[in-house]
């Protein structure tokens, strides 16, 4: 097994809530509360969860858009958690990001050509000609016409803009792309086009993905390994086949059963959770899921469950739940 491309160790990101006359810190929003994961080169790790679970914050903390409060991010064996902007530059070539909102992820007054050239300019890649060539290449890779070069973002549809965003992320030949809900804002018929593009990039260029989404069906389609997040922690992590075949954590089971399937007449016993998704500013005591959990025991109210390894070294399956203690 080659050495991992990305290792995240006990990462935490807390946001202070300020209040009062002197704007002191009143409380913390624990958006990411101790997350660890490993990503091998060329693999796709799917991070799934509902709003407030911290998956987006996790992605942004890994790429240093947010400064991690605690824990480590190790890229290609190097600890990049606290590097300065200058020191981060060479690592930025290896790790890039694509965003959710196609209408906000491209600078409105820059042409496509300018947007795609920027990464090459900042990192001094080759001379002018090489860069221009590379820009054209990128448009080909994402399946867009060369006519797009002199256009402005507002002249494109959501799906096309998303592809331009992907082209920008590819410019520096990254080994890892963090995709933050890249298809959630797209129409259904366009989603599949972009998902196919992502699958091609995985296969043909060996790019690893940290794919963040709330749609389990989308996640299953692209991921090798999946981590289910709830209120800042990963509650279950295993390979995608096992997750769908034998989910262990009650939340994972509820999530799977909540997905409306386009298969009418199929009788399902649906697990409908009571209550609402809690806010990370005010997490419940003990296991964060206990107020909504159909299998909650007394212990769950007071003790936070530790992650347990239920699988084999070849096929690890980690679950954080007292049912398996």
């Amino acid at each position: 097994m080659s050495s991992p491309l990305l290792q995240v160790e006990e990462l935490r990101k807390y946001f202070p809530i300020r209040g009062g006359l002197l704007r002191g810190v009143k409380a913390q929003v624990k958006a990411v509360d101790g997350v660890s994961l490993v990503l091998q080169p060329g693999q796709t790790y799917g991070l799934v969860g509902e709003s407030g679970c911290g998956k987006s914050t996790l992605g942004r903390s890994i790429i240093r858009l947010y400064e991690p409060t605690a824990g480590k991010v190790i890229l290609d064996g190097a600890d990049i958690t606290h590097l300065s902007r200058k020191e981060m530059l060479p690592y930025r070539e290896r790790m890039q990001m694509i965003f959710q909102d196609p209408y906000a992820s491209l600078s409105p007054r820059r042409t496509v050509s300018q947007t795609l050239r920027e990464p090459l300019d900042i990192h001094n890649k080759g001379d002018r000609n090489t860069r221009d060539k590379r820009v054209r290449e990128l448009l080909d890779v994402v399946g867009m016409s060369q006519r797009a070069l002199n256009r402005y973002p507002h002249e494109f549809s959501g799906g096309q803009r998303q592809r331009i965003g992907i082209a920008r992320a590819l410019a520096l030949n990254p080994r890892l792309i963090i995709a933050d809900e890249p298809v959630s804002a797209l129409d259904v018929s366009v989603q599949s086009q972009v998902l196919n593009l992502v699958a091609d990039l995985q296969r043909e260029h060996g790019i690893a993905f940290l794919f963040i989404a709330h749609d389990l069906a989308v996640i299953q389609h692209v991921s090798d390994r999946i981590g289910v997040m709830y209120l800042g922690k990963i509650v279950e992590a295993t390979d995608s086949r096992t997750l769908y075949a034998s989910p262990k954590h009650p939340y994972t089971r509820a999530l799977l059963s909540a997905i409306p399937l386009p298969e009418p007449g199929r009788k399902r016993s649906r697990i409908v959770l009571g209550g609402d998704v809690p806010s990370p500013a005010n997490p419940p005591s003990g296991c964060p899921f206990h107020p909504r959990c159909p299998d909650a025991m007394d212990r769950c109210r007071t003790e936070i469950p530790a992650p347990r390894e239920l699988g084999t070294p070849a096929a690890p399956h980690e679950v954080s739940c007292h049912l398996y203690d």
Partner: protein, 299 residues
């Protein structure tokens, strides 16, 4: 609910030329009747001012060209003033003065406001932001006329003391507007993308964020232009403004005696021309704002 936008959803990549947001704005502007007329009037004034500056006409504005208080005639289109100077020439010459002040102040104040506002907004909450806000607060609380007088005195009658005073006071509005807009814009994902690419912070501010406030800056510049001209009139009237040269403010000041004696030409010429420019520019500025409003221009 956004049904019109829903309707506009899919735009095919046609053979038409690339359309920047400016082109779209221009297209919108061209359909605004009032705006176009206002713009035409402004251009007329610009032409006049340019001619004066190049020495084509009104060079003899200080000459004693005629008799005291001559009425309107073919030799003197607006008549003459109390000492026999041609009012028309003086009024035309003043156009150049107004434009000079308006442009210098508008450009400098807007630039200063844009830069400081962008920096304050981008680093909002930090000491830099607090510093710039404090500066804005302090300068804003000094009464304008006193400020001009103080600067004029300090600079020992430097002819640009008026310009300096105006720039130092007028940049604040632009600064506040830009700061507010930048605070919003820096949360956009394209700014995140630039960070993720390793683009240095100041490059992000000036390459990605500030250009997206340019519609605000342009409109603010036109408003500042008008404010500068109007302020000059008051300052010149009080003797704090234009020192050498002629302006509508000076004309109005010197005409106060004439009006008491029943001779209105001087007063009217200056006032009407001033009113014309201010009105036209205001209407132009309104039309410009409508045309450049990103909510209607972009998708």
């Amino acid at each position: 609910m956004n049904t019109a936008a829903e309707v506009m959803e899919a735009e095919a990549l046609s053979d038409a030329a690339a359309e920047s947001l400016w082109t779209k704005g221009l297209y919108k502007f061209r359909r605004d009747r009032v705006g176009l007329w206002a713009f035409a009037v402004v251009l007329l004034y610009v032409g006049v001012a340019l001619g004066v500056w190049l020495g084509f006409w009104a060079t003899g504005w200080a000459d004693l060209a005629g008799e005291k208080w001559e009425p309107v005639s073919s030799a003197h289109w607006f008549g003459t003033n109390i000492i026999g100077q041609d009012i028309f020439d003086r009024a035309i010459y003043s156009t150049k003065t107004s434009f000079e002040i308006g442009l210098v102040v508008a450009v400098l104040a807007t630039a200063l406001g844009g830069i400081l506002g962008a920096i304050a907004g981008f680093f909002s909450g930090s000491w830099l932001d607090e510093l710039i806000l404090w500066l804005m607060g302090v300068l804003d609380s000094i009464p304008f006329l006193l400020f001009v007088a103080a600067i004029a005195y300090t600079l020992q009658g430097n002819p640009y003391s008026m310009h300096i005073a105006m720039v130092v006071t007028f940049w604040i509005t632009a600064g506040r507007l830009v700061r507010g807009e930048v605070i919003k814009l820096k949360e956009m994902e394209y700014v995140d993308a630039a960070h993720a690419l390793g683009v240095p912070e100041y490059t992000i501010i000036f390459r990605h964020i500030l250009p997206n406030t340019s519609h605000i800056l342009l409109v603010q510049a036109t408003i500042t232009f008008v404010a500068a001209i109007k302020s000059e009139v008051i300052l010149s009237f009080l003797g704090l403004g234009v020192k050498d040269g002629m302006s509508w403010g000076l004309m109005i000041a010197e005409s106060s005696q004439e009006v008491l004696a029943g001779f209105f030409n001087n007063f009217l010429s200056a006032s009407v021309l001033l009113f014309g420019l201010v009105m036209a520019f205001n209407l132009f500025s309104d039309a410009l704002q409508d045309a450049l409003d990103p909510r209607t221009v972009s998708d």
